[in-house]
């Protein structure tokens, strides 16, 4: 029976399409209190007083909680390994509010109408403070966003709150300045990226209750159930043994549900009242009061010789983490660590920068996690450099990019806020990816551009990218496999299926090793009481890290089964052959089926429960690679861009589930196109987000989606389960640079700040034509 690398429908797809219960909000108890949060109308203010007398008198209001009700115990909401590389700079509620939408207090009432009514009756007096709304002016600003004394870093991350610096970092290999001086051609450019919104279709949701053992049960739409349990325990000083976090189906995350959202508030309400409670974010709250991608300015200098040898890359990044520092350091570092090794042959490289606080919606994890920002800058810069060199950008990349069995010193230097891990690229099919992509897009006939009529130009552009597969020595996944009577299995994983299909692919891995079919391997994720630990769904770790844990567990289970079969057939282990269904004794006709064996173990002799648990922590993080090619039509009279086609050729090792892998790439490509072209983020001068719903914040619809051609390189990663690397994030990285390169190829305009709206393109085009 083959389960891996064959088309396998997702295990939950049918049920969910048919409308079965599954998501957090489907499990709210009928008598749950409904929680509403009062949010700050000011970007930066001190709460002078809260008058909630009228609201308290309202029938049906059960509790109102504000900063007065909590000890001052700073923590971070970032869903990361512990100790976290993010500053502990958040309180449940604080007397300061630091962005429009920040939490002031919460009301829990018997229904939504009452809770909302109560909010409207509460009067809060603020002392409005001078906000920091321009991240380029945040550092050393007179306004200090985090003046409170209790906040701290868990280990050195360059945290200097008095200067509005949430984290900083510096690394270099060789002497960049010297190398650049010697380069024959040098270009220096600055690039800007926006605070993209995750826009998962399911808004953040949580509900809480005490069970019959008086333990706190939390249903949460989260990517990181175990981190949620730990953080709630810390933040509320509540025994971790009394907390159970259940992650049901999750309606998309993309990093937006990696950090804590409403879980602490809902838990606090239930602890305070003893009653079940539910908190579902409105779409506006999802936009204004959850997390965004870190906006960045990337100053990049690259130098090469006339023959096209890339010599040096210098990158300074200024990143805006908004009001709180969730994932501040690590996202910013990934802008270097998962981008710069693409060009591993340089003499010297420097990566440094600061992550600053501003009075904007906090930034956090988001698919790509810094790599998309870094990739946009570097892959745009490479095309700019090639233009100056007069060199073909494909040839340039082929000459300078990472190849199989090579490495980059950066791997050893840059890790998850700490040192990294040296590793060799045992698989890197980037060469093939580029070559195949050129064919798929018909590059040679289309590059750089062609006039279609008097105002439409058709052009192509491309970029290459890499990501990682989990965080070595930090991300741990584990899996439990249990044998049931009749010979089917349960697969219990802490790995978090958030829609990406990890339940399915992990079941495939286990089924493959145990030579059974996927329908006999029943996956369950994730429940901190029932499933073994896993860091969660992030950092492209699930297939590689959790997948390896599942594979280990399946191997151990197989051994146990053979042992038990040997017992049953009265022979040595070595004499047993197993094909997934039948155990044969060699050189004899004696055999026992798995079904018989499992029934025997349950009911007849040698009775026992076979159940194994294995864990895996990566010692490397083999990067997936890809090349992305775009074909666009650009209207030179209006600046409008239509993407006709996007070809992706991806090296993610063996695809455990080819269609789901394709889905990961294609979904990510379209999100990347959103970032490149449509998803504009606009604040008012007073720091309020204007683009706070789906009418004003435009994610791509099916009309914007181009023809997507997605292929996988043949690749087999020795360290991965059945040869797999990761595929969750890599797809998002190339569209910004590939599209900007295509726009340049169409009309000679270089867009350096995302998104490339028609307006920006047309204005630049007119300016350029005017100058000529």
């Amino acid at each position: 029976m083959k389960s891996v690398n064959v088309i396998t429908p997702s295990v939950d797809g049918k049920g969910l399409m048919m409308g079965k219960a599954g998501y957090t909000n489907d499990y709210v108890l009928k008598n749950a209190l409904i929680i509403k949060v009062l949010r700050s109308p000011h970007p930066f203010a001190k709460i002078v007083s809260i008058d909630d007398e009228e609201a308290k008198k309202l029938t049906g209001v059960e509790c109102i909680l504000s900063h007065k009700d909590f000890d001052r115990r700073p923590f971070t909401r970032a869903g990361q390994g512990y100790p976290e590389p993010s500053p502990h700079d958040k309180f449940v509620f604080d007397e300061y509010v630091r962005y429009v939408g920040d939490e002031v207090l919460c009301v829990a009432a018997i229904d939504e109408v009452t809770a909302e009514k109560a909010l409207s009756l509460i009067k809060v007096e603020y002392e409005v403070l001078e906000p920091v709304l321009d991240f380029e002016k945040a550092m050393n600003n007179v306004s200090v966003i985090h003046p409170e004394p209790e906040i701290h870093e868990m280990f050195p991350i360059g945290f200097e709150p008095k200067k509005n610096i949430s984290a900083s970092y510096h690394m270099h290999i060789g002497n960049v300045e010297d190398t650049l001086k010697k380069c024959e051609v040098v270009i220096k450019e600055s690039f800007y990226t926006q605070a993209q919104a995750h826009s998962m279709m399911e808004p953040h949701a949580v509900n809480t209750q005490f069970d019959y053992q008086n333990r706190l049960i939390i249903y949460s739409a989260t990517q990181t159930p175990f981190h949620v349990r730990r953080i709630i325990s810390q933040a509320l000083n509540y025994p971790i043994s009394k907390i159970r976090v259940i992650k049901p189906r999750v309606g998309g995350g993309f990093g937006g549900k990696q950090a804590i959202h409403g879980e602490i508030i809902a838990s606090a309400v239930t602890i305070k009242t003893g009653k079940p409670a539910a908190l579902v974010y409105t779409r506006k709250e999802v936009f204004e009061s959850s997390y965004t991608r870190h906006p960045m300015r990337l100053d990049i200098t690259v130098g090469a010789d006339k023959d096209g040898t890339l010599k040096a890359i210098d990158c300074y990044v200024l990143s805006d983490t908004g009001a709180y520092g969730e994932h501040a350091l690590t996202v910013f570092m990934v802008a270097g660590s998962k981008v710069l090794p693409l060009y591993n042959k340089v003499d010297s490289v420097r990566f440094h920068g600061h992550v600053v606080y501003t009075n904007h919606t906090p930034a956090g994890a988001f698919r790509g996690y810094g790599a998309i920002q870094g990739n946009f800058a570097l892959e745009s810069a490479v095309d700019i450099l090639c233009n100056k060199l007069g060199m073909d950008p494909i040839l340039f990349r082929q000459k300078n990019m990472m190849k199989e069995n090579e490495t980059s010193p950066i791997f050893a230097i840059m890790g998850e806020g700490t040192e990294g891990t040296a590793m060799m690229m045992e698989t890197c099919k980037l060469d093939y990816c580029v070559k195949r992509g050129l064919e798929l897009i018909d590059w040679n006939n289309k590059y750089p551009s062609k006039k279609i009529n008097d105002h439409i130009v058709r052009s192509v552009g491309m970029a290459i990218a890499m990501q990682g597969s989990g965080i070595p020595y930090i991300d741990m996944g584990s899996a439990t496999i249990k044998l049931n009577d009749d010979g089917f299995y349960n697969l219990l994983v802490g790995a978090t299926d958030i829609g990406q299909g990890s339940d399915t692919i992990l079941a495939q891995i286990a089924a493959e090793e145990l030579m059974t079919s996927v329908d006999k391997m029943i996956p369950y994720s994730s429940d901190t009481d029932l499933t073994p630990f896993d860091t969660g769904a992030y950092a492209s770790s699930t297939t590689f890290v959790s997948g390896n844990a599942v594979l280990k567990a399946a191997k151990t289970m197989k051994n146990k089964l053979i042992e038990e079969a040997a017992n049953a057939l009265n022979c040595a282990k070595e004499e047993i052959g197993f094909d997934g269904e039948i155990f044969n004794k060699v050189n004899s006709t004696e055999s026992i089926t798995l079904k018989e064996l499992s029934n025997r173990l349950y009911y007849n002799s040698d009775q026992k429960q076979l159940m194994v648990t294995e864990s895996y922590v990566g010692h490397k993080s083999p990067p997936p690679f890809m090349a992305g090619f775009a074909e666009i039509d650009l209207d030179t009279e209006t600046g409008e861009v239509k993407v006709n086609k996007y070809c992706s050729v991806v090296d993610c090792g063996v695809t455990i589930n080819p269609k789901l892998a394709k889905g990961q790439v294609e979904g990510a490509i379209v999100q990347g196109l959103g970032m490149a072209l449509y998803e504009d983020v606009v604040y008012t001068a007073k720091g309020k987000l204007i683009t706070n719903d789906f009418m004003s914040y435009r994610i791509p619809s099916r009309m914007e989606t181009p023809e997507l051609i997605t292929e996988f390189a043949e690749s087999n990663e020795p360290s991965g389960p059945f040869g797999a690397k990761s595929v969750g994030e890599i797809g998002i990285d190339t569209p910004p640079a590939a599209i900007m390169n295509a726009i340049y190829n169409a009309c000679g305009v270089r867009i350096k700040s995302l998104p490339a709206t028609p307006e920006k393109i047309l204005m630049e085009l007119r300016r350029k034509n005017h100058e000529q």
Binding site: M695, M703, P758, L762
Partner: protein, 267 residues
Amino acid sequence: MEIKNYYVAKDLDDALQKFMLSSDNHLLGGGAWMKNSLRHIDTAIELSHLVSNDITETKEFIEIGAMCTLHDLSIHPAIIKYYDGILAQASKQIMGITVRNIATIGGTIAGKYAFSDLLTPLLAMNCQLMFYRQGIITLEEYLQSAIREKDILLKVLIKKSTAKGYFHKVAKTALDFSIVNVAVVKDNQNFSVCVGARPQIAAKAFKACELLNSSGVINQEIIEKAAKMAADELTFSSNFRGQAEYRKMVTETYIKRGLQEVITNAR
């Protein structure tokens, strides 16, 4: 949104009485925009049984009931046929099928929404509105009247004609609101050039129309001149969807393309 009362009007008179009673009383069209724009409604007045949702044809006119949904509008043969179907095209480009199945032409016109994609072609077609109290007035008059009289829109009347038409919506994505929209109608030698979502409400470029109407032969030079003239005479301003300058530039471009189309694609 909070709605205190739901009132099924006995007849149009009753509806109007109720409507006049308070500024918090509202007539229900499809309710789609109300849902997103009003916080508090005292009484929501049901009209759907009193106002038609049909599209009918008389010898001279297409008559559209105010309760007609955008989807029905977009697929009706007469709407597709006349004026090269610009009203159908404009409707089709508003959101998805679900919104178009509830949003009504009456709500769109009565709301006088500046962002509207329907008002621009309707204005270019010089349509008339039949109100319960005011009787028939032109859309042009209606849009220009600053005070919004409380009245009930019953029908939209479009004169049948063999006119040529062009509509274009400039928007970031298929589901987005217009950055600007442009409608051009050529009825024999009579031109009507209208631009909406500037972001101000749809308006006609009178000077440009005059130029076109007074020029015997319309060549490329006149087209370009008229397009520029229209962009100059109309006002544009900035919001988060676009700067005034950009709006003006693309308006000129699309008027030019529109004029070319209605002139060269003669039937």
